[in-house]
């Protein structure tokens, strides 16, 4: 809402004109100032003149020679290209020496051989508006020779206020003035409306067939007006409010909308077919050409005003082209109706058509304002365009609105705002808002005018008290709550995240929307897809079932940007169309953690680069996570979709699935346009963070260790991990076992695995016999798996 300070002063006597101070007051009232615009005189030397005579130019057809009296000894000769004035017109004249906006200096010059001593100005030349069709013709009889700016409300300040959805009343000058009056505790002057009428009945009859869409319909007929431009002062006020001046009839409706907050519509009364208007729901397939020239297909959810020929106006949003007022309009039906806000909102969204009127109606205009707004518009119209107002006002009330009465207990206010608010201060503050307040000991009976639809309950009044008391006056206190903290799962999640960070990975955040291809890439359960009904893009309508598509996109993008290695992780939800265990009304949406690494990754440099990431990197990452989380993660070869079929492990904790680690399937890499191998891991978050393993100290032996190596030839298909764990179980004295060589003979295809063992006892130095015994036990355990000790 754009608010001109000079216009505002019509209604209140403000204690300050300082824009900064007023801006703060608007902020404190809850109407945030989005911008403050200063309007000032942007010219010098422009005076009011009267055209004494105007005649043809001897050498040109399109321009004329005028003689203009600006109060000097003799009239000035000025060449002018505009044709919208004749002798007797009073006009703004820039004499030689004048400077127009943009630093344009006026001098004497000859035009087609005739000397011109200045310029008669258009709106655009003075920066007052867009009109450049003709020059400004002043109405009334402004004093000749006066500075032109004396006719304008300059300088002026315009505040652009962000009006919250619950405050339709602030979408008007009166509403804004009322707020300031309450803040400063000063008087509010309403516009004085006196409306002389001529006896008679309007020739147009009105009915409401859709009372659920139209609460009230008020109209007056004005006969015999003269359509034309509205005066400069009105044009300027509209201009500052951001509304384009069109004609006196239309300008008046907009002016009253800005002033009082009630949108109006002016019909050309002579083109209303059948002299009847009805408010009804549109019929399927009906169309309406609106004022903006668009032909709109209507639905039964659209409310229309129809005449004998069908829809003639999209109620509350935009008038129809057919009944538009024009330069020839003589008789006007001035309508002020109150429409159902949701109907307006849905209609305006459906037609993607937001007007100043629809913005107000969908928030909720005062349902009892229509007759006054109607009268005010007719008053201004006859002032500007002449004509007679017909005495009988059409006023059909389909749904009456009565003021709301709220019983407010003083304690309601004190509970939230503190004990300083006893009954009297509450009554005083609410009274300033022009609410009718009857205090009665510890209670107040508050009657709320219908222009404040936001006030219906005691809580709403508490807000008004707090607001007018000024939020700045409240102290700062802290509640005494219980102890806070993270849950075990939350702490473990932080441990997990810092583990991944410690591995050198960066955390990524992706949108959860994927294409069908990306979805299918890692889909385990086809058909369990959750789709967005109204997606931003049709190819991003599916909710992800894996974090990997997003990470692979990130890998590709970073590689394309020139990154040599990319190492990312993400934590987030994936979505499946099946009930969520925690609430079966919503889809399953478990949290996952995923890793994607490509390129040379780890400690190293240009001369000795780290190993290039592959499935082993993924397995190592899982091992690091398992160690840090204190979990025993088992691995087995697996072929989940999207992963490399021979380089991927399924991971479990105590037999419960945890996820997968490996490499991308070559086909998936192609889909994501990645040439290099990508190490990928995706794990369910819940089992990872449900419980960290217990950490208890194992006594540390001070006795010497014994190291030895054994090499086995293993049968085909024996997982190396099985050999490790079987031997690990075979000896109580085994401190560590690691695979240090894993070799497949290129010709025989026999696989040899060499293990390094370390034995140590907690309480003694091992004897040669003990070492031999343990060694035999390890060999036996390996043999049980079919692994034969190779001769040394």
């Amino acid at each position: 809402m754009r608010v001109s300070l000079t216009w505002l002063r019509e209604f209140i006597d403000l204690p300050t004109g300082d824009p900064i101070q007023l801006g703060r007051v608007f902020d404190y009232l809850g109407h945030a100032v989005e911008s403050i615009e200063v309007f000032d005189v942007a010219w010098s030397g422009v005076r009011i003149g009267e055209v004494v005579e105007v005649g043809a130019h001897p050498n040109a057809d399109k321009i004329r020679v005028a003689r203009v009296d600006v109060g000097d000894a003799s009239p000035h000769q000025i060449i002018c290209g505009a044709w919208n004035f004749e002798a007797g017109a009073r006009v703004p004249v820039a004499l030689p020496g004048a400077v127009l906006p943009g630093g344009f200096e006026i001098g004497k010059r000859a035009i087609r051989g005739v000397e011109s001593h200045g310029m008669i100005c258009s709106e655009r030349e003075l920066g007052l508006g867009e009109d450049h069709e003709g020059i400004i013709v002043l109405d009334g009889n402004p004093a000749i020779g006066d500075p032109f700016e004396s006719l304008l409300e300059l300088p002026d300040v315009v505040f652009d206020l962000e009006v919250t959805n619950n405050r339709p009343d602030v979408m008007s000058m009166i509403g804004v003035a009322r707020e300031l009056a309450a803040w400063y505790d000063i008087d509010l002057r309403m516009p004085v409306i006196s409306l002389p009428t001529v006896p008679g009945e309007p020739k147009v009859g009105v009915t409401i067939s859709a009372p659920d869409g139209c609460n009230r319909f008020t109209a007056r007929e004005v006969r015999g007006i003269t359509s034309g431009k509205s005066p400069l002062w009105m044009q300027q006020r509209l201009h500052k409010a951001g509304v384009r001046a069109i004609s006196n009839v239309v300008d008046v409706t907009n002016y009253v909308m800005l002033e009082l907050g009630h949108p109006l519509h002016a019909f050309d009364a002579d083109v209303i077919a059948g002299n009847s208007l009805d408010v009804r729901w549109a019929r399927e397939g009906e169309t309406l050409e609106t004022l903006d020239g668009a032909v709109r297909r209507l639905t039964p959810q659209d409310l229309v005003i129809v005449d004998g020929d069908g829809p003639t106006s999209l109620a509350a949003i935009m008038g129809g082209a057919r009944s538009e007022v024009a330069a020839t309009t003589r008789n006007v039906l001035m309508e002020a109706a109150h429409w159902d806000p949701p109907t307006v909102m849905y209609s305006s969204r459906r037609h993607d058509l937001q007007s100043e009127a629809s913005k107000r109606f969908e928030r909720g205009v005062d349902p009892n304002l229509a007759p006054m707004a109607n009268d005010r518009a007719c008053q201004l119209l006859t002032n500007l365009a002449g004509g007679d107002v017909v005495a009988t006002q059409i006023d059909i009330v389909a749904n009456p609105s009565a003021p709301v009465v709220i019983e407010l207990a003083t304690s309601d206010v004190q509970r939230l705002l503190g004990t300083r608010f006893s009954t009297d201060p509450i009554a005083e503050l609410l009274g300033r808002l022009q609410l009718e307040v009857v205090p009665n000991s510890e209670r107040l009976t508050v009657t709320v005018p219908t222009y404040r639809p936001d006030l219906t309950r005691p809580a709403d009044l508490v807000e008004e008290v707090a607001r007018l008391a000024d939020f700045d006056t409240f102290p700062e206190t802290l509640p005494t709550g219980p102890a806070g903290g993270l849950s075990a799962e939350q702490t473990h999640t932080r441990t997990l995240v810092t583990t991944l960070r410690g591995l050198g990975l960066h955390q990524a955040v992706n949108l959860p929307f994927v294409s069908p291809d990306e979805l299918a890439a890692f889909a385990e359960e086809v058909g369990d897809v959750v789709s967005v009904r109204n997606p931003l893009r049709d190819d991003q309508a599916k909710l992800r079932q894996s974090l990997l598509p997003g990470l692979l996109r990130n890998v590709r993008d970073n590689l394309n940007r020139g990154a040599g290695a990319v190492a990312l992780f993400e934590i987030g939800r994936v979505f499946f169309a099946r009930p969520w265990p925690e609430d079966d009304r919503v889809p399953d949406q478990p949290n996952r953690v995923a890793v994607a690494i490509t390129g040379p990754f780890g400690f190293g440099g240009p001369a000795d680069p780290p190993p290039t990431a592959d499935a082993t990197t993924a397995l190592a990452a899982v091992a690091a996570i398992a160690t840090r989380m204190g979990l025993d993660v088992a691995r087995a070869a697996a072929q989940p979709p999207g992963y490399h079929p021979t380089r991927t492990a399924a991971l479990t904790i105590n037999g419960r699935p945890l996820g997968y680690a490996g490499e991308t399937h070559p086909g998936i890499s192609r889909l994501f346009e990645i040439d290099s191998r990508v190490a990928i891991v995706e794990l369910e978050l819940a089992p990872l963070v449900a419980a960290r393993g217990t950490f208890e100290m194992t006594p540390i032996s001070n006795y010497p260790h014994v190291d030895f190596d054994l090499s086995f030839e293993v049968p085909p298909g024996l997982p190396g991990g099985d050999l490790v764990s079987a031997t690990a179980r075979a000896s109580d004295l085994l401190e560590a076992v690691t695979i240090f060589d894993d070799f497949v003979h290129p010709e025989t295809a026999r696989r040899s695995i060499a293990l390094h063992f370390r034995l140590r006892a907690s309480d003694r130095t091992l004897s040669r016999q003990e070492i031999e015994r343990e060694r035999d036990a390890l060999v036996t355990a390996a043999a049980a798996l079919g692994a034969q000790l190779r001769s040394a």
Binding site: R415, P479, G481, P482, R494, V509, F575, A607
Partner: protein, 374 residues
């Protein structure tokens, strides 16, 4: 070697005079090397190998000293002791000279080696990969920790949510524009009347938490939210919020103000001031927006890029919990009061870190991520 001879300093004058004369004669016969000459030779040696050869020549088995020592046994008893002493003296002297030379050579050689293996320490020959939490995660953790210090727990809830929790439980009117498809993303799932959607804010977790827990409630809820916004410099369809809720028997408006002021001081710095401006949210009454004094200019610069010259940064929306919300979750609004707040994580992070476009938060460009190695 056995030496039974009395010490030359024995007071047996007569004998010693006689003995001394003989000894002098003997010693002159010894062909021991000249220490000064040896030293000159030593000084010319520049390598450990040459020094070892020198040592071999002069102290080894075939050296003069070794030969003279082996001849000692042939001497009469009275001479052996003194001659032996003399040889040992010379040998010890030589050993010391060699050790000295050895030490100085070792020092020289180490210095040479050190000089040869010099490293240009201004060059990064190798690097460790350094990871980092996403800036959003960093801010979430920082804000959560501030509120944990104030006695809050951290709560979580579903992102695919029921319309009831997202709107109705939060006192959102049935015809609120936020419910339109132009604002909120709806899901093809469940019964149509359940209005499954991607939550538009973290506030539904308020309602869920209160349904499941009795007061008092002190929680913060960080999480992902969704709006039907196309991507531009200040809009993303996915963004993060941190919601806060305090419900107790006697929470007042001043508690809201004090809590958020304390938060702002911890987050933006101890001299931060806050102001509340009335606003409108369906789920709070009174409602307010909170501004924090600009941490960059503190209101001192009309051209400040962080706050746009206003001196204030809009940080969050807040208010006292609307009684209708309490009723929706089964709390008695006559028994409890509370406040709630919600802040956009990106919105507080952007001015703090000078981030010019919200898109950076989801681009996952390493050149961005690596700038915030938190």
């Amino acid at each position: 070697m056995e030496d039974n001879r009395p010490d030359s300093t024995t007071p047996d004058v007569d004998e010693s005079v006689d003995l001394d004369a003989k000894l002098d004669e003997m010693l002159l016969d010894l062909r021991l090397p000249d220490p000064e000459a040896l030293q000159r030779e030593l000084d010319r040696i520049e390598t450990s190998e040459d020094l070892a050869a020198f040592e071999r020549d002069h102290l080894g088995r075939k050296s003069v000293i070794a030969r003279e020592l082996s001849n000692l046994g042939k001497l009469p008893d009275d001479q052996r002791r003194e001659v032996g002493r003399r040889i040992h003296e010379v040998r010890l002297d030589l050993q010391q000279r060699i050790a000295h030379r050895h030490a100085s050579l070792a020092t020289q050689e180490q210095a040479g080696r050190i000089a040869a293996e010099s490293l240009d320490v201004t060059v990064d020959y190798r690097t460790f990969p350094v990871g980092g939490l996403h800036l959003i995660q960093q801010v979430i953790d920082e804000v959560s920790d501030i509120f944990i210090g104030l006695g809050y727990k951290v709560a979580d809830g579903p992102e695919a949510e029921l319309g009831w929790y997202n709107f109705d439980a939060l006192n959102t009117p049935p015809d609120h524009p936020g419910r339109l498809e132009s604002d909120t993303m709806y899901l093809d799932y469940g019964k149509p009347e359940d209005e499954l959607l991607l939550r538009a804010h973290t506030s539904p977790v308020q309602a869920r938490y209160m349904e499941q827990h009795d007061p008092p409630v002190y929680i913060v809820v960080p999480g992902k939210c969704y709006r039907n916004d196309t991507v531009d410099a200040s809009h993303l369809p996915v963004f993060y919020q941190i919601e806060g809720l305090a419900v107790d028997t006697d929470i007042q408006f001043s508690d809201l103000k004090g809590t958020l002021a304390e938060f702002a001081r911890q987050f933006f710095g101890p001299s931060t001031r806050v102001r509340l401006r009335p606003h409108y949210f369906p789920f709070t009454e009174p409602s307010a927006e909170m501004d924090a004094s600009c941490p960059s200019c503190d209101g001192g610069s009309a051209s400040c890029r962080v706050c746009g010259g206003s001196g204030w940064l809009e940080i969050l929306g807040c208010g006292m919990v609307d009684p209708n919300v309490f009723e929706a979750v089964g709390y008695d609004p006559n028994e409890v009061t509370g406040f709630a707040f919600g802040m956009g994580v990106e919105r507080v992070a952007m001015p703090r870190y000078g981030i010019d476009s919200i898109r950076h938060f989801v681009d996952n460009d390493l050149r961005f991520l690596e700038q915030f190695p938190g």
